[in-house]
Structure formats: C-alpha cells, structure tokens
C-alpha cells in the first residue's frame, strides 16, 4: 500500500509543481519558463493519448505524431480561414479554441479509425512498421500539398482565442493547457478503471483469452486507438497555438519517437507517466542543450541505459511496479 501512497504523492507533486512554477514565473517576470511549462503540459497531453493505446492496450504505435500534426493543421487552417475570411468546404474558419478542439479531435479520431482499421489487422513488429509508414504517408502529403504551406508549414499570426482569457499572454495560455491536461488525466483514469479499460488491459496481456470470453479484441483495440488519436490530436492543436505555427515537422517520425520516449521514460500505463516523461524530456533538453550542442547524444545514452537497466520508468522508480487489484 505504501507504493500506492507514494504514487499519489508523486502525482500530486507533479500536478501542483506544474502549476506552481509558472505562477512563480508570472510574478518574477520569467515568461520563458511559463512557455517551457506550457510545452511540458502539451507534450504530456499528447503522451496521455499515446498512453491509452500503448500503455493500456499494448499497441506500439510509431506513428502517433500524425495525429499531433493533424491537430496542429486544424488549428492553423481554421485560423487562416478565419483570418482571410475565405470559407473552407463551404463553412467559415474560426479562431475559437472551443470550436477548433472538437474539430481537431474528430478529424484525428477519423484518421485513427482508418489507420487503425488497417494496422490492427496485424500485430507486433508489423504494427510498429505500418503505423510508422502511414504517418509518413500523411507527412509527405502535408509536405507536398502546396495549399497550406507545404514544406514551410503554416503560421498562425494571432493565437486562437479562449473565452474570457487573453491567450497571447503566456500565463493565460498555460492555464488553458494545464486545465486541458488535468481533464485528460481524469479521462485516462476513468477509462483505465472502467469495464472498457479492464477489457483493454486484458487484451494487452492475453488477447486469445479475452476473445474466448466473447469480447472481440479488434473492436476494443480500435476504439482505444481512436480515443488515443483524438487526445493526441487535441494536444497538436494546442502546440500549434503555443508555437503559433502548424508544422509538418510535428508529424515527422522523430516526433512519434519522442512521444514513445515520453511514455516509457515516465512509466508505461501509469497515470502521471506522460507528465513525468514530458517534464524529464523538456528539462533534459533545456539543461543539457545549454551545456552542449550534442545534447541528443547524451539523451540517447540515457535512453539506452533506461531501456537496458531499468524497467518501468520514473514513476516505477519512485512508486514501484503497478498492481492491478
């Protein structure tokens, strides 16, 4: 039981630390720190999406950047149409986050449904390569489609708006992202504890057994994959607003790799795993990136050591391995 208490304590520390440092930064004139923590929150959110597919369902998607990038393009494209007044598919554009988010989530979910329908016919190593390949397909499409910036990406001149807040101020944008992150953590916790989560985690461990109980593993996995894509897509929309830029680079395979790294370093399937992982990754980049231009070499070495010697990530390091009642 001590383990569970330690995990709760760690979770509380992460959730509050993520909030309190930017508040401190607000009063000490450190907008860069606020932006950094906004990035952590958004990457953690993207990681939560992947954590549903990978952590709970055991689906090693090496193409989750595609939803991250798509969410960004939704934010960018709708903002551009709102900016120049041209309709898109007969509808006006918008600069309201509360409209952009659902659109980003629905489109990411649809894309995940299509990609999942193909890739979930396979498993293991095939699944990894196929998700990577499909993401790459969309990436190349985005790069070679000239209407929305192609290789150059799509700038967002004025950040999209959230009612009652001025999103151009770093702290107010941060609060939006932090709030969405907390909501997503709640959704993740609910899913994990639900009947659906019970079936999903069981399928990860023994799909044949679950099928013999009368639950079709394909349907459960596909549903989880779609939810997963939707959350990562939402994160992408927020990231585009943070950087004021919808970039094809957000869809690149390196981003997919980063998302996996976030989850594994944090703790696969753990509630706050993506938060710990994102904080570690961004912190590592800022700290070692300031020391040497070759910080990625050190990241690689740390990652390699983490895979070879430690199992279970940061959360497990502090709170031990998980037990499911």
């Amino acid at each position: 039981m001590a383990d569970i208490k330690r995990e709760y304590a760690l979770n509380a520390l992460l959730a509050l630390g993520l909030l309190l440092v930017p508040i401190w930064a607000l009063y000490n004139g450190a907008p860069f720190t606020i932006t950094l923590f906004t990035r952590i929150a958004i990457l953690a959110l993207a990681g939560i999406g992947l954590n549903i597919a990978l952590g709970l369902g055991g689906m090693v998607s090496f193409g989750h950047a595609v939803y991250f990038g798509l969410g960004g393009y939704v934010a960018g494209i709708l903002a551009q149409h709102a900016f120049n007044g041209a309709p898109i598919l007969g509808l006006p554009g918008t600069n309201q986050m509360l409209i952009i988010w659902p659109v980003a989530m629905v489109l990411s979910g649809l894309l995940a449904a299509v990609i999942g329908a193909f890739s979930l016919r396979t498993s293991g190593i095939f699944f990894i390569m196929i998700t990577l390949a499909f993401a790459q397909m969309v990436y190349y499409f985005a790069v070679s489609w000239p209407a929305y910036g192609g290789e150059d990406g799509l700038p967002i001149y004025v950040r999209n708006q959230f009612p009652g807040l001025n999103t151009m101020r770093p702290f107010e944008l941060f609060i939006v992202c932090w709030g969405v992150l907390m909501l997503a953590l709640g959704v993740f916790a609910l899913i994990r504890a639900s009947r659906f989560g019970a079936a999903l985690m069981a399928i990860r461990q023994n799909p044949d057994r679950v099928a013999s109980l009368g639950i079709n593993p394909f349907g459960v996995k596909l549903a989880a994959f779609v939810i997963s894509g939707m959350i990562t897509g939402l994160a992408g929309a927020l990231m585009a607003d943070l950087s004021r830029f919808a970039s094809p680079a957000a869809m690149a395979w390196t981003m997919s790799g980063e998302l996996i790294v976030i989850i594994i370093l944090g703790g696969t399937g753990r509630l706050f795993g993506p938060v710990a992982g994102a904080a570690f990754l961004v912190g590592f980049e800022v700290f070692f990136g300031g020391l040497t231009e070759h910080w990625k070499l050190w990241l690689g070495l740390v990652l390699l050591a983490a895979v070879l010697f430690n199992r279970g990530g940061i959360v497990a390091l502090i709170a031990g391995r998980e037990r499911l009642g």
Partner: protein, 249 residues
Amino acid sequence: MAEPVLTLTDLHKSFGALKATDGVSLTLNPGEIHALIGPNGAGKSTLIGQISGRVLPDAGTITFRGHDITRLDVAQRARLGLGRSFQISSLIPDYSARRNVMLALQARQGHSFRFLMPVMRDRGLRDRADAILDRVGLRGRASVPSAELSHGERRLLEIAVALALEPACFLLDEPMAGMGAEGVGALVTFLRDLKTEAPILLVEHDMDAVFALADRLSVLVYGQVIATGTVDEIRNDPRVREAYLGEEA
C-alpha cells in the same frame, strides 16, 4: 432424446499432407460428459481449435444450439454460449483471480464498452465473482494476481472463468493436467455436479478421471473417431485396444 447441444459433422482439416482432422462427426447431448481421448498427435488440439473457432475447418459443419457456427470467430462463439478452458492455463497474468472472473462476468453481460463507471467499485459484479471463486474453492485467493497462483489454483481459476460465462456447454481442455491426486479427486466430484448445469466436452489424459466421469467416450486416432460409446463399450472395443496398447507398447 433431446437435440444435441453441439454437433460436429464430417469435419476435415489438413496442414499440408497431414490430415489432422479426417471426417470427424460427434455430438454433445444435454446433461452429459462426453470425453474425447486419443494418443498424442491424434488431432485433439486441432479439433478443439475448430470447435472454439481458432482454427477454420477445410470442410464440414459445426452446429451449436441450432446455429451453424462453422464460420464464426472465437468471440462470436463465446457469446453464443461456448465456454472453454485452456490446456495450458491462459489467464490475465497481472489481474487478480477476482478480476479474471469479473472480466468474464462483464463479457457475459456484453457490457465492455462502458467508459465511466469504475469496474472495481461495481459491487454486484464483485460479489458474483467472489461467489464463483467460493464455488471452486478460491475465495481466499481472490486478490492474488493469477500469475502468482499455484499451478493447481490456476487450473481451478480456469474453471471459475468458464463458470462465470454461464455457458450452454463447456469445452474443457485437459483440466486435470499437472494436478495432484487430491486435486483430481475434488475436480471429478465438481465436474460430475457441473454437468447438470451444462454438458461438458472433456479432453483429458487422466484415464481414471475420464472413466469415472464420462457418460460417453470418443476415441480419436490419426484425425479419425475410431469409436464412440459408453465406458464399458470403449474398454472392450478391439480397435481401441489396438490403437492404444499398440501405441503405448
């Protein structure tokens, strides 16, 4: 006599040149234990695979409670009421014994697409799982992860999971494998009681248990059923004696 619950008609399955199932027909009637025996390599696993839906037959039909299930997948057959246990214990390793049974109960109810209510706080589901664990004698081990249960306990949990499905027939694949004499004795008593709830197709190597339990026996050799009958009929069947004793001598 009542309609059979499960009917196999002229099933064929080959892997390359090997005829693993070569024209098998058999029935499982309400209230009976029908044991399927045969030497190693006779094709029992392939046959079980075809009944459960993991292996598709090349030809022939499988009828279950009036439905042609020959082309249905594993999950669809399970939902129609085909409950099975696995030869090698196949549970959810990280899940406790209770959670393993709860998952089966949830599958039985068909409510796996519920996202909001925490399943462990579902008292109804929990109590029913505990009642089933009680019935197989695992109540005291309810919160132990199934990976940490002993071999015999895992065999019992397999049965508990099958029970939770309230199936219309049980397909038990070597439930006694690796159990001590005491465990086998208890299980024999338990299964004799169970068959009144739903008929059992029993694949088993422990011949004493089979002879003690089976209402009917079918002997599978080289993919063919060479004899079907009561225990006494099978014991005295010359073909069976030849196949078995010839094999073992």
